[in-house]
Structure formats: structure tokens, C-alpha cells
Symmetry: C2
Subunit: 218 residues, 2 copies
DNA sequence: GCGTTTGAGGACCAGATAGTCCAGGTATTT
DNA sequence: AAATACCTGGACTATCTGGTCCTCAAACGC
């Protein structure tokens, strides 16, 4: 009876609104719990309870915990990229970068620097544990950096940035400052280090402006 | 018979060379294993086996896993600070910073960016799980940054850095770039992002030199 | 030498947790 | 209405793992 299902565990074709909703509820719960407790410290029972589903549903939608985690990596990646796309896809000026910085800082200050970046924390926890999750995360970081570097490219093309500015490297540096800022802020339970780190990166980018405005970053 | 021992589990005074050696062996093993697998994914049995000790010795030297982890946080912190003190306490020039950078990059490139910084990985894993470990890590980061900022202070006092340079902020920014670089390098299994991040931070510091030398960072 | 302290070794226990299975009920689609 | 997909609930297992306990050996002071 369930032979066909077993035969095609991954690419099952049955798609019902209800099923999708449950699957999403599970992912959403896993997302929430694993952000504050970490992946390994969160049990499937926690997720089952938080998502108001049953054990069998967990295993109906995901083969095992590892597959759930991998799905979560993509889920969270999609969330971040969607949020970041909204803030970055029309980036055309330095003040746009400052606004982007302010939004991130403000969001993180709401919980006193705790929890850090959903992607960054998974990266450290999973990189040496699940190669597939690692490469997926790596790709998400790359896509995120591309959103930034695309904006920087636009700024360079429009003559705002000097020609010798390297958008890719600047984006990587900014991303590292962001992730390092998240990490230090998390350790300190204080958003201040994240601000300093981002300001440093922005200042660095500012040094590539064709005509550096007199006012400082903030 | 063992009532007295139970009464004073923490501040025991018995100090034997043999005992210290065993304790250190345990910590050293925990350090090694937890660096690659993470804290939560490492079992006491792994540690027992790797340290060639017995279960009872683990619990003779540490009340429970949490105490072991906390001891490891200090152990690792001491190791890092010792290593960093050697490389930073005589920092007096920009080229000294570059040498410091090169040493870190080279060390991390030996394992293709994997594992990251022992402190940083613990910070993300423990910050929302063990308040005591978190604050201990936070202090270690502060001490590490102080090693850097002390060097920058010396450079400023000697007239190398401009007076408006803020050594504390520069040190925080550099530390964030380092930690973010570790994280991205770990996710990518490639040391390149760490190089870019550190170079950005160094370039930022260089912009505060009184007479910026013409040659780039590297 | 003798008793006490310290360390080694490992058997053992209890609880947590991933994962299985099934019996039956409810929605959705055709 | 029939078939298919989805869901509940919970019992059950195997394993892992933190933690306890007990015995024996070595070291050491008296």
C-alpha cells in the first residue's frame, strides 16, 4: 500500500494545501526553537509540541532529523534572502547602505544582541557535521553577498564609487563584519560591537566614494 | 568515608602532580574533540577515550559536563590569550599587524578554513545556553581586544597613528572582521574570505596612519 | 609495616531521544 | 461517494549518554 510512497520519499507529488501548511508549521517551529537553543540542543519532541503536530507527521514530511535540518537551512536561507532582497535590491547610494545597517542594528538591539544571525550560527554548528548543510549555507552566503555587491556595482557604474573599488571584496568584507559583529554582540549580549564592526566596514566602503561626503557614517 | 570530599567538591586542596596531569589530559582532549565536533556533539565517553582516563576520573575532576565545559572555556581562553600575547605584546608598527594577520591566515589555511576560532565557535554555541560560559567568553574577547588596542595605543603615542584614531573601536572592528572571517572561511572551507575581511580591517587602520605608506596591505 | 588518601577501571542505572508502527479518524480531490 | 492524501495519538524499541557506585591498586605519611 505504501510501497510507492517509500519508493519516492523525496519527490512525492501529492500536494495539498493542508499538507504544505503542516510542513511549513513544522519548519517555522524548528526555525524558532533552533535559533535560540541551537540545532543540536533542540529535540524533535520540542518541535512536535511547538508546531502542534504529531510525531508521525514529522516523519511523514521529513525522513529524519538531518533532513529536517537541511530543509531548515534552505528555509532560513530563503527567509534571509527575501528580507535582504527587499532592503538591497534598490541599493544605489551610500545612504542606502547606512539605512540597511541601521535596520540590522535595530533588529538585533531588540533582543540585546542575543541569538545572532540565523545563518551564521548554523554555519558554525553544522559546517563540520553535515557537508550538505555546509555547502547550502555557503551558497546562501554567496547569494547574500551578491545582493550587496550588485548594489555596489550599480554605485560604481553610476560614478559614485571609484573604478578601483572591488565590489566583491567589499561585499565579503562587509559580510564578515556583519557576522563577526553578530558573534561579538551575542557573546556580549550587547549590540555595540556589531555597530562598531558595521561602521568600520561602511567607513571602508566610504573611502572608495568618488567624493567622500564630509559627514561621518552615522 | 568520602563525606569530607563531597563536602568540598570545588575547592579541594589536594594537589598532586599526577592529578594535575590527568586533569590537563582531560581538558586537552576535550579541547581537541570539541573544536572539530562542537561542544554538544562531543560525549564524555569520547573525551574519556581520547584522554586515556576513566569515567570516574572525569567526575573526580569535574562535577559534571557543564563544569568541564566551563573549565574548557577558561582553558581555551588562556591558550588563545597566551598565543596572542606572544604575537601582540610588542606590536608597535603597522607591519607588525600585517605579520600578525599573516600568522592567523596561515594557521587557518592549514585546514582549509575549517573549525574556525575556538572561542568564536563556543561563543555561538554556548551564549544562549550557559550564562556563565558566555560571560567568561565575553571577558576573554575583551582581553584579546585589549591586547590589540594596547598595541594601537602604543602606535598612537609614538606618533604613527593619528590622534583621532580610536584604538578601542579599531580593535573591536578588527576582532569582528577576524571572527566573521573565521565563520565565512569555515562555511566556505576556504581561507579566502578571512583574508579579505582582515585586509579590510587592516586597510581601515591604515587609513589612520599619519603618513600612509604607498604600498598596500599585503 | 599499616592505614589513609588518591587514582584507575569499569559495571551499572535512569532518563532522554531518535525513530518505528499501527489503528483509526478527517479532509480533499476526482 | 470513493479514493487518496493527510493527520492524531500514542505505544513501543533501541540506543546513547550523563551520571552513580563499587572495587582494587598505587602512593604516602606515620
Amino acid at each position: 500500500m505504501s510501497d510507492e510512497q517509500v519508493a519516492a520519499p523525496t519527490n512525492r507529488r501529492r500536494i495539498s494545501q493542508r499538507g504544505i501548511a503542516t510542513r511549513d508549521r513544522i519548519l517555522e517551529a524548528a526555525n524558532r526553537l533552533m535559533l535560540v537553543r541551537g540545532v543540536n540542543a533542540t529535540t524533535l519532541d520540542d518541535i512536535r509540541e511547538a508546531s502542534q503536530t504529531s510525531k508521525s507527521q514529522l516523519y511523514h514530511h521529513f525522513a529524519d532529523k538531518q533532513e529536517l535540518v537541511r530543509a531548515l537551512v534552505k528555509y532560513r536561507g530563503a527567509l534571509v534572502l527575501q528580507r535582504e532582497r527587499a532592503g538591497l535590491e534598490r541599493l544605489r547610494s551610500f545612504s542606502g547602505l547606512v539605512r540597511w545597517r541601521n535596520a540590522l542594528v535595530q533588529a538585533n538591539s531588540l533582543n540585546d544582541g542575543k541569538y545572532g544571525c540565523g545563518l551564521g550560527s548554523m554555519a558554525l554548528e553544522l559546517s563540520d557535521q553535515d557537508e550538505q548543510a555546509r555547502s547550502s549555507l555557503s551558497e546562501t552566503f554567496a547569494a547574500w553577498e551578491r545582493l550587496i555587491s550588485d548594489g555596489l556595482h550599480r554605485m560604481r557604474d553610476s560614478g559614485l564609487l571609484r573604478q578601483d573599488a572591488d565590489p566583491e571584496k567589499l561585499a565579503t568584507g562587509l559580510m564578515a563584519a556583519l557576522q563577526g559583529g553578530y558573534l561579538l554582540a551575542n557573546a556580549a549580549h550587547n549590540v555595540a560591537p556589531m555597530e562598531v564592526a558595521l561602521d568600520m566596514a561602511l567607513e571602508h566602503i566610504r573611502s572608495f566614494l568618488v567624493q567622500p561626503s564630509g559627514e561621518p557614517v552615522r
